[in-house]
């Protein structure tokens, strides 16, 4: 079973839910796809970690062959190439590694070389195999690192929990598309509702079954429940705001390991999700 933990809005508790679900399972793989700001490993504190560098391909120009014909510059849809004093140059952060420029170059002056864009770290934390994608600072796209992280899922994994990036753009979609069930963590505020609607649209397009967790529920704002009701979305559980959970979270502690009530909540949640997935 592969679960994507999504939210739309940032800071609603994706990582909190993801690490606790993984921690209460007999055995699990946790994959952090929020590669711009990966935080799950701060909670799970994996040991025996190994790092693999993630690279993408960028063009390299052979000055002795290049005739400055501009064909590569004109072909590049991402404006990643320029001619400076009749020499082609690449803006590596903008390059999408499409492989077009070496194809169009009539002189065979372009080859591709690998450029590091991030790392994937793997390690173990009790029963959880922890995979973390971490994008290098200054890079624009996390997609190559997300794919590299997802490729580290264990073949025989019974439960894989994917901690997705916030928002509803390509990186959230790429992460969620790998899963067979989406868990949307919603904060019951006007901001939370608005972004929840956007992420629900994303899940619908991906054609994935989904359920909702209302986090930091204080019982005052009911618009999220109303929306779930209208769209027939199961509410998997409500987690009330508590200063104890907030303080454990602030200290990067996996709450289930310190608090029996929370452990039970996530145990039950996991059982319910399994039922939903198999129904």
């Amino acid at each position: 079973m592969k679960l994507a933990i999504l939210s739309g809005k940032g800071g609603t508790g994706k990582t909190f839910v993801a690490v606790n679900l993984a921690a209460v399972a007999d055995k699990a793989v946790y994959i952090d796809c929020d590669v711009e700001e990966p935080n799950g490993r701060l909670f799970l504190k994996p040991t025996d970690t190994k790092e693999t560098v993630v690279t993408t391909l960028i063009p390299q120009f052979d000055g002795t062959k290049c005739t400055a014909c501009r064909k590569c510059v004109d072909f590049c849809r991402f404006n990643a190439l320029v001619l400076v004093k009749d020499k082609p140059m690449v803006f590596t952060e903008i390059c999408h590694s499409c492989g077009g420029c070496p194809l169009v170059c009539p002189e065979g002056a372009i080859t591709e070389i690998e450029k590091p864009v991030g790392v994937v770290e793997t390690g173990q934390s009790a029963n959880v195999h922890v995979v973390t994608g971490c994008m290098n600072l200054g890079e624009a796209s996390g997609i190559p690192v997300i794919n590299a992280a997802l490729s580290q899922d264990l073949k025989d994994s019974e439960l894989t929990v994917i901690d997705c990036p916030p928002g509803t753009a390509c990186s959230a979609m790429e992460s969620a598309d790998y899963a067979d069930y989406c868990v949307i963590v919603v904060e019951p505020t006007a901001f939370g509702l608005h972004n929840f609607k956007m992420v629900y649209e994303l899940v619908t397009v991906l054609n994935k079954p989904c359920g909702v967790i209302i986090n930091k529920a204080d019982g005052e704002y009911h618009e999220v429940e109303k929306f779930c009701d209208e769209h027939n979305i199961p509410i998997l559980c409500r987690i009330p705001y508590s200063s104890k959970l907030a303080s454990l979270g602030a200290g990067a502690q996996v709450a289930s390991l310190y608090d029996e009530k929370t452990a039970k909540l996530f145990h039950d949640l996991l059982t319910d999700i399994k039922k939903e997935v198999h129904s």
Partner: protein
């Protein structure tokens, strides 16, 4: 026009709450929401008139002429984004995976690929005596940095106000990089948690790489006064102005749910935000002179 951008690294630390309060404190005439894949500022800015809207075109997408396609699979092999698959002997493009590079069009021996315009979102412009530029990216679309640049340019073209506030997006990637270009100061709203501090360090280092000045404030500081102190110390050590801290205040989410900023609510968080606002402005004036 002087420009203040609000960022955070980690999501949900209170960027929009801070931005909305500053906009009302200072009666700011020009502002924008650069968080195009989860925009929220429009919920609390109280415009009565309907906004102007226009389609945003991102990168073009490949389209296969099904009559011309012979199903040779050359495009499928050449596509680096796994966006093309042969289905019933004809090439099919996955619009979400296609990045519009046009390599398929180049390699197709039968001239069956066309590159067509794609609506990747919507740009929205509100006006009264103020101007507010925002947008909504179509879900699953890439290239959000380009839309952020459009949102900013639209604001700058539509307003001659002296001061602008830009509400940013979480993370450190493409939309954040696009939002940072050309601003005078980035105010980071940090959260006093291990994650919040870790993410704050990543956004501060990214801002440094991009060569923009930063300042830091802490939201919900009473969740962990110890971590707040660590953040303060980090700022001192790295010569980054620490402009203040805001207590957790239930009034904040109440105000947001009612559709307005904290500026009109008499509460401790508002007073703390006022101090931060004054300190931030002072910093921008110093930077200018």
């Amino acid at each position: 026009m002087r420009k203040l951008l609000i960022l955070s690294g980690k999501g949900g630390t209170g960027k929009t709450t801070v931005a909305a309060a500053f906009i009302d404190f200072l009666s700011v005439g020009a502002f924008a929401d650069c968080d195009v894949d989860a925009p929220n500022l429009h919920i609390v800015t109280e415009f009565t008139d309907k906004p102007e809207q226009k389609d945003y075109y991102g990168s073009q997408k490949a389209q296969i002429n099904q009559e011309k396609c012979v199903g040779c699979g050359i495009c499928e092999d050449a596509c680096r984004f796994n966006a093309i698959k042969l289905i019933n002997g004809k090439a099919q493009v996955d619009e979400y995976a296609c990045e519009g590079c046009s390599v398929c069009q180049f390699v197709c021996p039968h001239d069956s690929v066309m590159m067509v315009d794609d609506v990747a979102g919507k740009q929205i412009l509100y006006r009264d005596e103020r101007v507010f530029s925002t947008a909504k990216l179509k879900m699953g679309r890439g290239n959000s940095g380009k839309l952020v640049t459009e949102v900013k340019n639209t604001l700058f073209k539509s307003s001659d106000a002296e001061f602008a506030i830009l509400d940013g997006s979480p993370g450190i990637g493409c939309p954040v990089i696009a939002s940072v270009t050309g601003v005078d100061l980035v105010l980071i709203v940090a959260e006093p948690s291990v994650s919040g501090m870790h993410d704050m360090e990543r956004i501060l280092k990214t801002a440094d790489i991009l060569g923009v000045k930063t300042a830091v404030c802490v939201n919900k500081y009473d969740v962990s006064p110890q971590t707040t102190e660590k953040i303060n110390q980090y700022c001192l050590d790295n010569n980054i102005p620490f402009v203040g801290k805001v207590p957790y205040d239930i009034q904040a989410s109440k105000a947001i749910n009612a559709g307005h900023s904290l500026a009109s609510v008499d509460c401790p968080a508002r007073e703390a935000l006022k101090t931060i606002c004054t300190n931030t402005l002072k910093l921008m004036e110093e930077k200018q002179s």
